[in-house]
């Protein structure tokens, strides 16, 4: 079996038609991980027992001639911020190094109910805070396309695993670009659904008004299949929306001709790499040739997105991460004299530098005397950024932009400059703030053979349209 050619449908039908078994497929993926992953570092934990049990279930279904579920036997990887019952879940942090959750994340449970085989847990920036995967407390992930470069972050392990054929599909999470930016850097598809589209029950919270779960895949059809599987209301997450889930795969085949796609000059300004610009502009030309109307739109507050994001996200993080205190789970410092000493030292020793920086920034922004100047101000600008999209989507069906201003950068290049690292998310954070869906798909390469990503943003709960556009583009280039 050529692992690099495997998509959801190919894997499922090969098992269904008894050309291979789910067991054999799982074994060949583990053999590949064994061979490749020491250089890449995508996996933190392998879940072989759990995988083989599920594979056996799928093989027995196939042997009995019963139809496999939609992801029957499909090997998947899970970003290690999603809880898995009985399987260590670290969030890329030393503070959770030995944490074994008593529950499954809903998105993971839904994938497994649909037949998917979980191969293991994927490396990420600590608590999903980072744009390069260098903030993992365990080890960085390297970009499979060029091992001297970062895979992006924070879902770097998820993107690298799919790009290096160490999983057919991976789940990631996106708070400021953490699915789309690594997808772009590694040359795979990454979909951030609308806020509320996918339950976050069992996702270790970073910033609750911004956190999303979504798929990283080899093609757009697989992203549609996974979204259809994990989307929809979940009684365990009160923020999951009560909005019907369409058949995203069937919607892919609708024509794109006549769709209006917006191009905002704010996403093509200073700081955009010339090769990335060329690749994205070519992609937009191609969409025009497919019959889309390219319309200029204005998103005038775009430059305020990064400062707004780094107040809102860190404020929420400072509150969410207060729960890590060494009492009920997680790392506890040894020989603390008092309870308060124990809290402080456990957090000091358990959290990494970037996490502490964000807790400090968020606490500062929420502290007496600064709340109005920072947190309230950021919430107001968040409203303006959201209105920009509301206005634009009165004129267009989707907006096309680069996913990231550059292709993958080198390990260490931005590691000592937090502000430079934050600016890597400049084209992705606004969608998180507004809660709209976005997808990144590969659209060519730089001269150094590094992948470039095209980002397509859509209206709230209109993943169908951005998937359709992405699918049409993908088909036109393959």
């Amino acid at each position: 079996m050529e692992l690099n050619l495997l998509t959801i449908d190919a894997a499922r039908s090969a098992i269904q038609e008894r050309k291979t078994t789910s067991m054999a497929l799982v074994e060949s993926f583990y053999a590949r991980i064994q061979k490749e992953d020491s250089a890449i570092g995508a996996y933190l934990t392998l879940t072989k027992e759990r995988a083989l049990e599920q594979a056996d279930r799928m093989d027995r279904l196939a042997a009995e001639g019963k139809p496999l579920p939609p992801l029957g036997g499909v090997p998947v990887g899970i970003k290690d911020v999603m809880c898995t019952r009985g399987v260590r879940t670290t969030a890329g942090s030393k503070i959770l190094e030995n944490f074994i959750p008593p529950h499954d994340c809903t998105a993971v449970a839904r994938l497994e109910s649909a037949g998917a085989v979980v191969l293991g847990k994927l490396n990420c920036d600590e608590f999903a805070m980072g744009s390069s995967n260098e903030n993992s407390a365990f080890h960085p992930v390297r970009n499979p396309r060029d091992l001297s470069r970062v895979p992006g972050g924070s879902s770097g392990g998820s993107a690298a695993a799919v790009a290096a054929d160490m999983a057919v599909v991976a789940l990631g999470s996106d708070t400021g670009g953490s699915i789309r930016q690594p997808a772009s850097f590694c040359g795979v598809v990454g979909l951030m659904p609308t806020y509320g589209r996918v339950s976050r029950y069992g996702l270790i919270a970073f910033a609750s008004s911004l956190d999303h779960i979504g798929p990283l895949t080899k093609n757009v059809r697989d992203a549609a299949t996974v979204l259809h599987t994990i989307a929809g209301r979940d009684p365990m997450d009160s923020t999951s929306a009560d909005v019907p889930v369409p058949d995203y795969v069937a919607e892919l085949e609708k024509p794109v001709s006549g769709l209006k796609i917006g191009m905002a000059e704010e996403y093509f300004g200073d700081g955009l790499d010339a090769e990335v610009r060329k690749a994205v502009e070519d992609a937009i030309q191609r969409l025009a040739k497919l019959g889309c109307d390219v319309v200029p739109v204005s998103l005038p507050h775009t430059e305020y997105a990064i400062p707004t994001y780094y107040i809102v996200a860190t404020a929420e993080a400072s509150s969410n991460l207060a729960r890590f205190d060494g009492v009920r789970y997680g790392y506890r410092a040894k020989n603390a004299r008092t309870l308060s000493d124990m809290y402080r030292r456990s957090r000091d020793e358990g959290f990494g530098t970037e996490v502490k920086r964000r807790i400090m920034l968020g606490t500062y922004a929420l502290s007496a005397g600064y709340y109005d100047a920072y947190y309230l101000k950021a919430q107001k600008v968040r409203a303006l950024l959201t209105q920009d999209f509301d206005e634009a989507f009165k004129k267009v069906d989707a907006i096309v932009t680069p996913t990231s201003p550059t292709a993958a950068f080198k390990l260490g290049e931005k590691a000592n400059d937090p502000l430079a690292m934050y600016l890597a998310d400049i084209y992705t954070v606004t969608a998180d703030l507004a809660g709209i869906p976005g997808i990144s798909i590969p659209c060519g390469e730089t001269r150094e053979k590094l992948p470039v990503g095209l980002q397509i943003l859509g209206r709230h709960f209109d993943e169908a349209t951005i998937l359709r556009l992405a699918h049409a583009y993908e088909r036109s280039v393959s």
Binding site: P102, Y304, V327, R328, M342, R344, L361, Y364, L384, G435
Partner: protein, 112 residues
């Protein structure tokens, strides 16, 4: 410099962090650099803008309904054990760094 060493010590205290001398010095530098950038928000007049705390009260809900009615789908009847039984005690204690058979054990709470 907006953020002083004293501010960093105060915010670390609020955050239940101690930080080493070196970390505090870096924090002063980094917070000033980031907050300096964030100051660009002051160029915008937001006097008449309502703050937006979250997305889910505007999209994916029936906005013709007011207040709690809008989120009626997210509530449930108050039933014994809720949607599922609580965790068993052994499970709830399983990840604790220092459990006894009934409780989470912690160091002395009140200092004398």
């Amino acid at each position: 410099m907006k953020v002083t060493e004293k501010d960093v010590a105060y915010v670390a205290d609020l955050s239940n962090l101690e930080l080493t001398e070196e970390e505090r010095a870096h924090m002063v530098r980094d917070l000033n650099s980031i907050l300096g950038y964030i100051d660009m928000l002051n160029r915008l007049d937001t006097e008449s803008v309502d703050p937006m705390a979250q997305v889910s009260d505007r999209y994916g809900v029936d906005t013709s309904k007011a207040g709690g009615e809008r989120f009626a789908y997210a509530s449930r009847d108050d039933i014994l054990f809720g949607l599922r039984p609580s965790l068993k005690r052994e499970e709830a204690l399983a990840n604790s760094p220092d459990p006894d058979e009934t409780f989470f054990r912690v160091p002395k709470v009140i200092e004398r």
